[in-house]
Amino acid sequence: MAELPPFLPFFAGALLLPILPRGLRGIFFLVPPALAMWTLSGMQDGSTLSITLLGWELTPLRVDRLALLFGWVFAIVAFIGGVYALHLRSLGQQVAASLYAGSALGAVFAGDLITLLVFWEIMALGSAWLVWSRRTPASLAAGMRYIYVHLAGGGLLMAGILLHAGDTGSLAFTAFAQPSPAAWLILLGFGINAAIPPLHAWLPDAYPQATVTGAVFMSAFTTKTAVYALARGFAGWELLVPFGVAMTLYGVVYATLANDIRRLLAYHIVSQVGYMVAGVGLGSQMGINGATAHAFTHILYKGLLFMGAGAVLHATARSKLTELGGLGRFMPWTVALYLVGAFSISGFPLFSGFVSKAVTVDAAAKLGRDGVVLLLHLASIGTFLSTTLKLPYFTWWGPRRAYELVPIPWNMTAGMALAAGLNIFLGVYPQALYAILPYPLDYHPYTHSHLVKSAQLLGFTFLAFWLLRSRMGGKPRITLDTDWLYRRPAGLAYRLTVVTVDRLFGGVEALVLRMAEPLRALLANPHKPAGGLLRTIARLDFPIGGADPEPACFDVSRYRFSTGGVLFVLLLVFALLLAGALLVA
């Protein structure tokens, strides 16, 4: 029983959900995560499940410490997200979220690349559905862009896997030791899902368009599965260090400019995943430990932040800083619980981010990467600035805007409380996290220098924010990102292939219609334009209406005799010619 793959309960749940009564589905959604946790608790490090398919050995289940860490946090966040979404009555979203969570678990326990690829693609579909489920024109378009990018990423991954299988004759998913075309393709596929700039634009494009509950799941699974895959396959690839560090600052800059609160948080996913990518790139045991520890806490606090922003969206139907303000008194629990997440992401002592970020940064310091250390601290300042100061200040403080509020369901608050509790638990008792990291770690985050450093960084960042706060508010503007490269040409392509062609056809149609009117007038009575000749023949008629001018329309009886006469002559000539030809033959 212990060897039951943890994705199975989710997939079975997705099959059962449609036949359950609507009222039970919300509760039932919690069963697969609970079953998965039960399965995980019985799993032995090192056990595998293999099958042979078409002569290739596939390993749908491979258990080790790295996979278990991600498996646990995925199951936990699926459960918390389920509580947050308990009020949901949308079958499509519940099935999509189940498949999405299940395939994320399937991907981290996949021992071979084909199994990984299959789960990778199901994740793309499930998450795209959570964007489309919001059913606004903007979310439909963003969902389409999202799925195109992920299908392209999946294509790169598959090309790399096939090439790799051809090169090495093995499908096992292990570390890629040597750079090869196959490894580069696979790295690109992973990099798209890890949202490494310039391949990241799908994330801040789609996440703010997802449903309130959908965005919570999305913030957890896609990028962190990619971090897992990078840690497994590309640990120590030096290239990942500069890209990871650049990511942390890239997200910070764009979050500072963001107006939509969920886009601000989405850019801070890019920023936080940068710490993990850099940790993986460092490649030391401590670097990998830092990356995975940060992934674990990140899922918990980022889910919490998206839950808080989602509660604001649910209550106000608004998500832009320029449209929000002064809501704090009306949702005190949301503010308090959101701030737990914000303190965690900012690395406040006693909150979860403090104990995981420090490991990554110290891993860089131990390797003598001083520049990396300083830039990661700079990103940390920007994180505190946007998520803990700017977003709450302009959402919950200040003058209240006039609009009605929809009450927040109790279960949304309960989901936030669960996540907040775990963030505080890990902050207070970090050894619980350190004990499950891939490599043994003897580390104590609560040292004098760490505490003084945090107090100074956070305190003086707050001071600078307070002095500059008039410049910090959101602007009703959008910020161009690398999605410009495919959204702008898309407009051009649309104009070229749809608008222009449409206009061409329209023009031809109008021209034909315009020609039809004079032609109709011309041909209504063929005798009339034929003029003199026909009029001459017409004199042979027995005029019914005297020598009237020609009528506008053809009148059969008027020309019966003349037309008949001409036809008679023609037929006679034809008959004579035919007879002559027959006689000659």
Partner: protein
């Protein structure tokens, strides 16, 4: 900020710098081993991020909200005035 809160903030800031002098003594190997380095870094870093980001946004990156809207498409719907139908909750309107 009330005078009381400003005083609290001032105390916390001064305290964080002063406490830095009471740690275990060690030779400065890195730039961040100097006392009070992170106070300066926090303040300057925050100002740098704000000014650099805003300048980038103003001169290069930011556009009107309709920038990507194809010509002829309807403008993005404004939030409902009564707020009774959360836009984020397609599920509320499409029970199934």
């Amino acid at each position: 900020m009330s005078r009381f809160r400003a005083l609290l903030l001032g105390l916390a800031l001064v305290g964080s710098v002063v406490l830095g002098f009471f740690g275990p003594a060690k030779e400065p190997h890195h730039v961040w081993d100097y006392k009070g380095f992170f106070a300066l870094y926090g303040f300057a870093g925050c100002a740098l991020i704000v000014f650099a980001s805003k300048a980038l946004g103003k001169h290069i990156l930011q556009r009107g909200e309709d920038y990507y809207r194809p010509a002829g498409a309807p403008p993005e719907e404004a939030p409902e005035a009564d707020g009774a139908h959360p836009r984020g909750e397609g599920e509320e309107r499409h029970r199934g």
